[in-house]
């Protein structure tokens, strides 16, 4: 553990979150005042950008809509440029409670993990997602275990913390579309120690989720393919 204090950045991807963004920031400032944050406004068509500007929030304005992957990656690039030691991904829709940020940080500071994932399924409290979705998550979790041997229960959780090394890796290369499970695979391939910490998530308060039920089939196929092809592709690039 180093003597200088860790610089922590909370990356908050936000696309059309005018109903939630204020609460998220107020909550964050109250519960974790020592952490910096950056909102990544992913070309919202609603008042998200305007709210950020008026309140003097710290935000990035993407000129075109990149989706969650490109948005989060922009946050990692910001963390890298500004010399942060730890980056926390924290959704802008009010599903995540900033109170858990310290739980995500401490294993990284103590050197116990490179990546910490806030997991709904460790203790099984709070919002547990619907039945079919749970099935999909368990399937992807099994597939990831099969492909790279890491056992993660909540593979789709977008609430995670990473250390400096993985800020660099994710800034250079991050999955697009539905990046969460793929980011775990890529981290495992780079030899990350990944830890799951129990968190309680809320159901979203307003707005609509980025993944509708209709897109779930596409999601499962796309992510499965990404997981299956990641390892050979990685071996080719890093012999």
């Amino acid at each position: 553990m180093s003597s200088k204090p860790c610089k922590v950045l909370v990356i908050i991807p936000a696309c059309n979150e005018e109903l939630n963004i204020n609460n998220v920031i107020i909550d964050l400032r109250r519960k974790v005042p020592e952490a910096d944050y950056i909102i990544v406004n992913d070309c919202s068509s609603d008042r998200t950008g305007e709210i950020c500007r008026k309140n003097g929030y710290n935000y990035l304005d993407l000129p075109v809509n990149l989706g969650i992957g490109g948005g989060v990656q922009a946050g990692y690039r910001y963390a890298l440029e500004n010399g942060y030691d730890i980056a926390i991904q924290h959704d802008g829709d009010g599903q995540h409670d900033p109170a858990y940020i310290k739980d995500l940080i401490s294993p990284i500071i103590n050197g116990k993990a490179d990546i910490v994932i806030g997991s709904r399924f460790v203790t099984g409290e709070g919002y547990q997602s619907s039945g079919p979705r749970r099935l999909g998550i368990n399937f992807l979790s099994g597939l990831i275990k099969l492909c790279c041997g890491v056992s993660i229960k909540d593979v789709t959780s977008g609430y995670r913390g990473v250390n400096r090394r993985f800020i660099q890796i994710y800034a250079a290369e991050y999955a697009q579309d539905y990046p969460e499970p793929e980011a775990i695979i890529s981290a495992a391939m780079y030899g990350a120690r990944i830890l799951e910490m129990p968190v309680v998530m809320h159901e979203r308060r307003g707005g609509t989720s980025s993944i509708s039920a209709w897109k779930s089939i596409y999601y499962i196929i796309k992510v499965s393919l990404a997981i299956l092809t990641y390892r050979p592709a990685f071996a080719r690039r890093n012999p």
Partner: protein, 127 residues
């Protein structure tokens, strides 16, 4: 046997095809890198038109009864190849596009921060 008239018309068609490619190249609408596949497919067409016997041999070789069907199969295959290469080009473009959009956002934030900074701090920073 392929009628001579058909052969002539096809040849003229292929010449127009090549002329169009070179015209677009000259106008710099197409990058040479991406025209190679079109030139290649034009070349294949030319060979087939000039030596129609090759088509018969090819169709017998792969076991297609009518040469015209073999021609269609070959055509579809070449078109698939071209489409796939287009997809790979688009994939490359979208990756660079994402990087650029992120860089623009990061720079825009730095400019905004500089603009919002009190003037004396700006001077401090530049000195």
């Amino acid at each position: 046997m392929v009628p001579l008239m058909l052969q002539e018309v096809s040849l003229i068609g292929i010449l127009i095809f090549f002329a169009a490619i070179f015209y677009l190249l000259k106008k710099k609408v197409l990058l040479l890198k991406y025209t190679l596949m079109w030139l290649f497919s034009g070349l294949v067409m030319a060979v087939v038109v000039i030596f129609p016997g090759l088509l018969n041999k090819f169709s017998m070789l792969v076991g297609i009864k009518t040469p015209s069907n073999a021609l269609f199969a070959a055509l579809i295959f070449i078109i698939l190849l071209i489409l796939m290469s287009l997809t790979s080009i688009i994939s490359g473009l979208s990756v660079t596009n994402i990087k650029l959009a992120q860089s623009v956002a990061l720079l825009e934030k730095r400019v905004r921060d500089l603009e919002n900074m009190p003037t004396d701090m700006k001077q401090q920073k530049s000195s």
